[in-house]
Symmetry: C2
Subunit: 320 residues, 2 copies
């Protein structure tokens, strides 16, 4: 039901990882730490803080250890990190990451282009990481291109379910279906979320959606209608995709929280604090960001009537 009053929806912040990783200018470690700390005070239940990739692969996040060491752990907040391989997992475990986010693509072409391995090779490596983390940190597996591949096109749903099954069989029950390049549409989203939940009601499903073609919040709405209750989002809508220059990135955290709260869902997030974080972004990253609520204000932020209105009203009433 639309606007299921009081239902709790989990919104996970990914800007410090998925947003910052593609920023052309290096964001100083102290600035990253300050933003993550501010986000930790908003009530967001989870923050993906960094990536333990090789510094050569993602120079923008070469300070993963310093970031994890620098942040103040807010109580009740899960600090996650992207972990590409066993070496990254050991680094992340040493740095005290709460939850490891492992990624592979459902599309073979995208997996080869992005990870330089076949899916089979990625899956073997992923299972090694899962074993290494057992009992030491939570694990989530993100299946990229679950709603379409920018090179292969439509991805057969059976193929998505095959990889979900294999991940679950490997002992991971936290799964993210990622719309990596913003190819999902709402009818597809409703159908796939429904199918997932019917088949694996006890798995924890997260949706990681991009707004590349303006469909981000419409896809969230369709997913909510099909029972989804957990979403990644990126402050300011940071992030993006090299295949769609000029297009926006991830679903925007403050726009998502604003929609959910307006509809009567509970996110636990203090929206004014979150908007204050978002308004710090243009200075931090050196460019405008796509989020709308930080610019337009909330629905409930009213504007004073113009000063000349009293005179207009008097004149109008004088005419009868």
């Amino acid at each position: 039901m639309l606007g299921d009053t009081g239902k709790r929806i989990v919104v996970q912040e990914v800007a410090p990882r998925d947003g910052f990783q593609i920023e052309p200018a290096f964001i100083p470690t102290e600035a990253k730490v300050a933003l993550i700390n501010a986000l930790g005070e908003t009530g967001l239940p989870a923050i993906e803080a960094t990536s333990f990739a090789s510094p050569k692969a993602i120079p923008a996040l070469r300070d993963a250890e310093e970031v994890m060491r620098g942040i103040a752990r807010a109580s009740g907040v899960t600090y996650a990190a992207l972990v590409p391989n066993l070496r990254g997992a050991e680094r992340a475990l040493a740095a005290g990451v709460d939850e490891m986010n492992l990624v592979m693509s459902v599309s073979e072409t995208h997996n080869l282009a992005n990870l330089r391995m076949t899916r089979e090779q990625s899956f073997v490596q992923l299972c090694e990481v899962v074993r290494a983390c057992a009992g030491r940190a939570a694990v989530n597996v993100s299946l990229a291109t679950s709603f379409g591949c920018p090179m292969e096109g439509a991805v057969p749903e059976a193929e998505v379910w095959r990889w979900v099954s294999r991940v679950l069989d490997a002992g991971v029950s936290n799964i993210t279906l990622a719309d990596t390049t913003g190819m999902a549409h709402p009818a597809q989203m409703a159908r796939m979320v429904g199918a997932f939940r019917d088949r694996w009601p006890n798995a924890r499903l997260t949706l990681h959606l991009h707004n590349t073609r303006g469909l981000g919040l419409a896809n969230v709405l369709a997913a909510l209608g099909a029972g989804a209750d957990r979403f990644d989002a990126s402050l300011g809508g940071l992030g993006g995709c090299p295949y769609a220059p000029g297009a926006t990135g991830n679903v925007c955290t403050e726009d998502l929280v604003h929609m959910l709260e307006a509809m009567g869902y509970r996110t636990g997030v203090n929206l004014p604090r979150l908007v204050a974080c978002a308004r710090s972004l243009p200075t931090l990253v050196g460019h405008e960001v796509p989020g709308q609520v930080a610019k337009a204000g909330r629905i409930t932020d009213l504007h004073p009537a113009p000063v000349w209105l009293a005179e207009v009203r008097a004149n109008a009433l004088a005419k009868g």
Copy 2:
């Protein structure tokens, strides 16, 4: 049902009126005519071409007569215009406008600020225009601020229905509920569209939505779910609201058509032609526009795999 396969959805283009009226630089008449002509060849069933307001009130559209005279009438396309009063209606009738769009606000404060009249005065004037147009042109009445007023805040739904009733009683069965400053959220949209259709199943309901807070397409989706089948939209997402600087404007036509077609609805619109129109806008208006699909391409616009992929694949396979 989401993605009701084959259902026809009417998308009405409003950029030449609602978009161009707030452009700071005057758009030459020939350029307006050329764009309207190009839009007429896309399959869009209706285009709001201009406004017959006083040239002093809306200088950007001071060429209403020349625009109407200049355009080539595409077969099957309804050419509408905004008409603020009896004088405007006579001008529009003389210019051969097919459908008159009359506007008043449900919020008294907004009506005074926007039209410098009380709602009661606007309604009297509107009824005069309706009588003048009887048998000569179709009439649609747009109720602005139906989902909230930027100055008064929430607008009681009973107040919206009171004005809908009065308009219907005045003999107009084409009604637009307008979210003038982007204050609607999807739960409200679903509830209000459902209520309207239950009460007045034979009235023609159009939704005029803005994307001020990023909720435009999510609100469309909610309205579709409640049975709506007719939407205004603006090429490139042109338009906007003086109360939300930096925020986007109307729901973007090409993004809307793209979503609807992807979901299996029928709009009758040739999307590549529409996108070509949208891509002409930045040059025409002298600034970037918010629409996403014109930048990112359609879901089905694939990207070639990188040239180095064959080597990556060979190397990966060599490792077993």
